[in-house]
């Protein structure tokens, strides 16, 4: 790429393949992803008096309300319930905020998409990255709470990245799917705000899954990949006596529906986005 190589011999015609999800080289892709995510993240703190604190306020407020409701009114008897709730809300925040921002991201970046050759994949992924940065900062606060609450650190805390990676990958896949579909059907974004709220309750965030008797409803919840991820997180991080994901599901075999949905969602997200990417500019 340097100027010295610009001899006529270097002028080899290469086919222009048109727009794609990742077009323009791998290094450019990751540079752009990093730069855009980092600047978007910084931007969210600029111009506000309390900056970063605001990103903590939302989960904390929800946390405070739910804590009062479920310990004072419904009187849940769950070990370490306050920190479990806080941890779950912050990690679920990655999914909720990531997908929520990504769904309309491609439409919002219309100018870039229509006027530049830009790797389309960067756009929804950078929304997820911003949510990831926010969550990482919040997790620091969460772990201070967890220690202050008196939870003993265990070696399984080291497995936290596995949990986060599973949530992160799913968030990316859903973001790709939604952002590509939203270009075609503008009401996907509206539907998703409702669906994301439904998911908050269809995932054991504010209650542990063992509150439920075996039933059709429980089977549905167990087919939600997030259910098993959050249950395993509870066992690893908050309460070592809590059942693992395997025992929650009732055996390895019963984890298959959730695992299948997880894998299919990931493949579908990548496939749909890849298929739509070359046409996004025309559809805006």
């Amino acid at each position: 790429m340097s100027a010295e190589t610009q001899t006529p011999a270097a002028l080899e015609l290469r086919e222009v393949r048109g727009p794609s999800a990742t077009g323009g080289g791998r290094r450019r892709f990751f540079d752009l992803l990093w730069l855009i995510s980092a600047t978007e993240f910084k931007k969210s703190f600029h111009g506000t008096a309390f900056g970063y604190l605001w990103s903590l306020v939302r989960p904390l407020m929800l946390f405070a309300v739910l804590l009062v409701v479920f310990t004072r009114i419904f009187r849940f008897d769950v070990p370490n319930y306050p920190v479990l709730l806080l941890f779950n809300l912050v990690v679920f925040g990655l999914f909720q905020e990531g997908t929520g921002a990504a769904v309309s991201s491609v439409l919002a970046q219309e100018g870039i998409v229509r006027k530049t050759q830009f790797p389309r994949l960067v756009i929804p992924l950078s929304s997820v990255m911003v949510a990831l940065f926010t969550m990482a900062l919040n997790l620091i606060a969460v772990f201070i709470f967890i220690l202050a609450y008196g939870v003993e650190p265990t070696w399984t805390w080291l497995l936290l990245p596995v949990i986060l990676l599973l949530v992160f990958v799913l968030t990316c896949a859903v973001s790709l799917l939604l952002s590509a579909l939203n270009v075609r059907f503008r009401d996907v974004a509206i539907i998703w705000t409702v669906a994301a709220t439904v998911l908050l309750y269809a995932t054991p965030i504010i209650y542990p899954i063992d509150f439920l008797e075996p039933s059709f409803l429980k089977d549905v919840l167990l087919a939600n990949p997030l259910t098993l991820i959050f249950e395993q997180a509870r066992a690893w991080i908050i309460d070592p006596t809590a059942p693992s994901a395997v025992s929650v599901a009732g055996g390895w075999l019963n984890m298959l529906p959730a695992a299948a949905i997880y894998v299919v969602t990931c493949i579908l997200g990548v496939w749909v986005f890849n298929r739509e990417a070359p046409k996004i500019a025309e559809r805006l």
């Binding site: 790429m1 100027a3 610009q6 006529p8 270097a10 002028l11 080899e12 015609l13 290469r14 086919e15 222009v16 393949r17 048109g18 727009p19 077009g23 323009g24 080289g25 290094r27 450019r28 540079d31 752009l32 730069l35 855009i36 600047t39 931007k43 600029h46 100018g111 870039i112 998409v113 229509r114 006027k115 530049t116 050759q117 830009f118 075609r184 059907f185 503008r186 009401d187 996907v188 539907i191 070359p278 046409k279 500019a281 025309e282």
Partner: protein
């Protein structure tokens, strides 16, 4: 219509033989269609309710377009609105995917087709220059290293840490242009860049364009400013309805473009009224004081506007009016053929010529000449309305307002008052 090609002409006389240069852009049989559904489906409900009817209109934006551009060439693409020229640029820039055909390219391409795209108003100039550099394919370190040169060219060094949202529009354009110039892209795609900025900036653009014309860089300029085409381009291509109508000498291509414009102006519904083309504008042009055809005019120099019309049918009591509109659509001035000179009738096949000398008080900028022809001496009985028979640029020092008038200004400071 057959594609007429003329490889020599002024391009060769401009001192560089591009035939010998390697081809850096090669397009072969590029086609692109858009499926426009008559009712655009934008929501799921519409999808469900309109599922059965597939009301699609196929718009063929590009049909079998082939051309080569050699290294170092300044290549113009001209055509009316909707002729496919912007679509072609987007295919070249990998923004659209072609349906058929191949495009091959050698060298690094600037991925922008418009100035300032990708700027984030919430970020400072420093951050934006880095972001833009990375978009151009530079490494982040390289992109940061370029900051000094970019700001120096744009003369914006003091504002490096100011957010772009606080920039004036002039500063923004300067920065955007500078980013483009300072990128080391070997191929630049430019869509109507000359239309941006104030007169002083347009002048700067013009200088840079002249420089680029003589550099190793390959530039593709899409425009409908025939002045710019004749000024800068070594070669030009005329697109019409997505087809290549001509490739070759820019002057010739510009004339073909104008001719094509007038042929289709009365009948094509997109920007003209007149249902029946009883009279058509065959040709329209400007002359300088020496009687030479020109496309640009210096501020204050008399305007010699000329037009040739042909009557296609008999018209009773015709009247002819022309106006000059600036880019804001304001009709700054105009004229009509005096009543005393008007014939009682024109008959089919008759040619009419109009020659004028108009005192030029137009402020610098681009002007479009519009034409009205009525019959029965009645201005509501329109035979022809053509909103664009000619466009031209008045250049010179910028002044406020839409017109300028000779003026003398006296300025005194009166002493006195409290002392």
């Amino acid at each position: 219509m057959a594609v007429e090609t003329s490889q020599d002409g002024p391009a060769a006389t401009r001192g560089r033989d591009f035939e010998a240069e390697p081809v850096v852009i090669e397009a072969r049989g590029v086609s692109k269609s858009f499926r426009l559904s008559v009712n655009k489906i934008n929501s799921l409900k519409e999808l469900v309710t309109t599922f059965s009817q597939s009301d699609y209109k196929e718009l063929r934006a590009l049909r079998d377009v082939s051309f080569d551009v050699h290294r170092g060439e300044f290549f113009g693409i001209v055509g009316r609105n909707g002729s496919g020229k912007s679509t072609l640029l987007k295919v070249l820039a990998s923004i659209y995917a072609a349906d058929a055909g191949t495009v091959r390219m050698a060298g690094r391409l600037a991925p922008f087709i418009e100035l300032g795209v990708g700027f984030n108003p919430e970020l400072t100039a420093r951050e934006n220059v880095e972001l833009n550099g990375v978009m151009m394919g530079l490494e982040r370190r390289e992109a940061r290293g370029r900051l000094g040169a970019v700001l120096e060219f744009a003369e914006l060094e003091e504002f490096v840490d100011m957010k772009l949202k606080n920039y004036s529009s002039g500063m923004l354009v300067r920065l955007a242009f500078s980013v483009m110039i300072q990128s080391d892209a070997e191929i630049l795609l430019i869509d109507e860049v000359l239309a941006v900025g104030d007169a002083a900036f347009q002048q700067k653009c013009a200088d840079v364009f002249h420089e680029m014309r003589d550099s190793e860089r390959t530039v593709i300029l899409v425009t409908h400013d025939m002045g710019a085409v004749e000024h800068y381009c070594h070669r030009a291509m005329l697109l019409h309805d997505g087809e290549v109508k001509a490739i070759g000498d820019p002057g010739e291509v510009a004339r073909k473009y104008l001719r094509l414009n007038f042929e289709s102006a009365p009948s094509s519904g997109d920007d003209s009224l007149g249902e029946v083309a009883d009279v058509v504008v065959e040709d329209a042009w400007l002359e300088d004081d020496a009687g030479e055809r020109v496309t640009n005019l210096e501020k204050g120099k008399d305007l010699h506007f000329c037009a040739e019309l042909e009557a296609k049918r008999d018209v009773e009591g015709p009247t002819f009016g022309f106006t000059f509109a600036n880019p804001d659509g304001v009709e700054v001035t105009g004229f009509g053929v005096p009543l005393g000179d008007l014939p009682e009738r024109v008959t089919a096949g008759q040619k009419l010529q109009i020659r004028t000398r108009i005192e030029n008080r137009l402020a610098p900028g681009r002007y479009v000449v519009r034409c009205w022809i009525h019959r029965h001496r009645n201005i509501s009985d329109i035979v022809l309305y053509s909103p664009h028979v000619l466009d031209f640029v008045v250049f010179g020092k910028d002044e406020p307002g839409v017109a300028f008038f000779e003026h003398e200004v006296r300025f005194d400071v009166k002493n006195g008052g409290e002392k």
